[in-house]
């Protein structure tokens, strides 16, 4: 079944919203971020700030000082990028219990075009001390991530998408903040993916297998704090890494993986992502192809990484 992670976020807020410490804020996008469901159920704990993201984030911080768990939602570009300094100084520095649940991340926003497509938000959010950065890959993972961050006391950036994505997990899945998930085992190369790139990573696995190449596939839902152990182990055991993310190749998952590896287990890494350019208008599926966020591109990069390993 296909479901957008933003839709699962809306369902999760409805499901866990009976917790009276939960407050939800939105900046006039509640029907798109899906916080409207919570608003229907718990109108007294929902506050629309209007199109004023700076105030939304700083007032969320004030609410969090009153023993609340505050979810503040908008599009990633406005929440994480426009209000980056409010997140830094009002939320992260005082380490307050605010969850920035940002939807419409990446180019899969589609037709709205470059102004609305955050491609740098992971880089900005993960550079903030005290911040936890999570990007789920499907609806089930999103729901569990929401539950986990309600129980976690501190700032979280939850990166969600507009586009409906296929299920990766079944009901037996158990999400744990900071713990990467090995989806496929292999010894020739490792594909480390996050968000909507997990599905193409699994497709690449199948295609590579038919060519006699065994790829390991890892889903990194928590980009910070990143699961160093699973990454180092993969580099040690497979010797070549490909990262895949719907984000600028500067500063996102690829960078985070490279940081771990150059500290602990140097290995060739090829990065699949947006090649340091802005998005544009178009159907999400067309843009995903145009920007090379595909299984085909992962396969090409996997082979380059394997060749580098042999050198």
């Amino acid at each position: 079944m296909k479901k957008a992670t933003r839709a699962a976020y809306g369902e999760a807020l409805a499901e866990y919203g009976s917790n009276e410490r939960i407050i939800v804020l939105d900046a006039d996008l509640s029907k798109s971020t899906m916080t409207a469901t919570f608003k229907e159920l718990y109108p007294e704990r929902f506050f629309n700030t209007g199109i004023a993201e700076a105030n939304m984030i700083s007032s969320a911080a004030g609410m969090a000082t009153c023993n609340k768990i505050v979810f503040a939602s908008s599009f990633a570009i406005f929440a994480a990028v426009r209000a980056a300094e409010q997140i830094r100084n009002s939320v992260c520095y005082p380490k307050l219990n605010v969850k920035i649940a940002a939807t419409h991340a990446g180019i899969s926003v589609g037709e709205d075009g470059a102004t609305h497509q955050a491609i740098e938000d992971i880089a900005i959010m993960r550079a903030l001390p005290n911040m936890t950065v999570i990007q789920p890959c499907d609806g089930r993972e999103t729901k569990q991530a929401v539950k986990a961050i309600i129980d976690y006391n501190g700032p979280v950036y939850l990166r969600l998408g507009r586009l409906a994505v296929e299920d990766i997990y079944d009901n037996s899945y158990e999400f744990q903040i900071g713990k990467g998930v090995q989806l496929k085992d292999g010894c020739d190369v490792t594909i480390i993916a996050t968000g909507l790139m997990v599905k193409p990573a699994l497709d690449a696995y199948e295609a590579l297998r038919s060519q006699g190449i065994l790829a390991r596939v890892i889903n990194i839902h928590t980009i910070k704090p990143i699961d160093r152990e699973i990454i180092v182990k993969a580099a040690r055991e497979t010797g070549a890494i490909v990262t895949a993310e719907e984000h600028n190749i500067i500063g996102g998952l690829g960078s985070a993986v490279c940081e771990v590896l150059c500290d602990e287990q140097p290995a060739p890494v090829k990065r699949v992502g947006i090649e340091d350019k802005f998005g544009k208008s178009g159907k999400p599926e067309d843009l995903i192809k145009m920007y090379g966020l595909t299984a085909e591109n992962i396969i090409i990069k996997a082979k380059i990484a394997m060749a580098l390993k042999k050198q």
């Binding site: 407050i23 700030t49 209007g50 105030n55 700083s58 007032s59 004030g62 609410m63 000082t65 380490k95």
Partner: protein, 280 residues
């Protein structure tokens, strides 16, 4: 207010000002001008109105105070020391690497500080959030905040002005420390926010204009704010930057500069003479 209490508060404000001078002097940096300008407001708030107790700084029912103009941290630390939240001797560690008294106030480090501030425009928004939660939780606490007049140039302030009026946050009382000066000079020459009172009114606030160094006027305005229903109150306090130290008054050069030994001694001597005149 009664004459005896007024004298006591005036004496307290002078002590608060002396602390400010010594904090900034010992740090060798900091913001004396805008700390001195709102010293009378904080004194009336903390020593007459606010329900706070140094033994329970996180009491969920306490009144809140947010120094939105966070660079005036010396006045806040000074008042918190006078209220017993922090040891007075710690004031002399202000801005030192081994101290918890950061250049700008930090909620996680300093007992009695209710919100981290310093990046202008953000504190007033946080105060709105606290007031909103007070309403939601049906608590009687009140939220106070102080804005600088230069701070009004931050667009985020006006987002908060809209928000507080829209949600009828009558448990929120903000002060404008209207001293007319910012780092680069006269606020009307740098980027005029005037006419300030008309702007707050247009945004739906209850506006009261007072002499920010007349404690009776400050006190009356706070009482009026408490009785105002359905609207947040903005008390526009006409103040003098550097108030209480003759050579710092109305000098924008004292926005962010520490006195040297000679200047420090002169400032303390002036404040001591003022205290002696009060006779309390």
């Amino acid at each position: 207010m009664e004459q005896e209490l007024l004298l006591k508060l005036k004496r307290k404000a002078a002590d608060v000002r002396k602390n400010i001078i010594d904090e900034v002097f010992s740090a060798g940096s900091g913001h004396p001008g805008g700390s001195l300008s709102c010293a009378d407001i904080l004194t009336v708030l903390y020593f007459k109105h606010m329900n706070v107790n140094s033994s329970t700084p996180k009491d969920p029912d306490r009144d809140r105070f947010v120094l939105s103009k966070g660079h005036a941290s010396p006045v806040l630390y000074s008042v918190l020391a006078e209220k017993g939240f922090i040891p007075k001797k710690d004031l002399l560690t202000f801005r030192q690497a081994d101290s918890y008294l950061e250049g700008h106030p930090s909620v996680k480090d300093v007992p009695g500080v209710d919100m981290t501030t310093g990046s202008l425009g953000q504190g007033i928004c946080a105060a709105c959030g606290m007031a909103q939660m007070g309403k939601l939780d049906k608590k009687d606490y009140r939220v106070y905040a102080i804005l600088g007049d230069g701070e009004l140039q931050e667009g985020q302030v006006w987002e908060a002005m809209m928000y507080a009026a829209h949600y009828k946050l009558d448990n929120l009382t903000a002060f404008l420390d209207h001293n007319g000066l910012q780092i680069d000079g006269d606020i009307t020459k740098v980027m005029s926010p005037e006419p300030v009172a008309a702007k707050f009114e247009a945004f739906g606030w209850n506006v009261i204009i007072v002499d920010g160094h007349d404690m009776n006027q400050i006190d009356n305005a706070i009482e009026k704010a408490k009785k105002t229903k359905g609207k947040p109150t903005m008390i526009v306090a006409e103040t003098v930057k550097g108030k209480g130290v003759s050579f710092m008054e109305n000098q924008y050069g004292w926005h962010g500069k520490a006195p040297n030994q000679e200047q420090r001694d002169k400032a303390i001597a002036e404040l001591d003479a003022y205290i002696e005149n009060l006779g309390v």
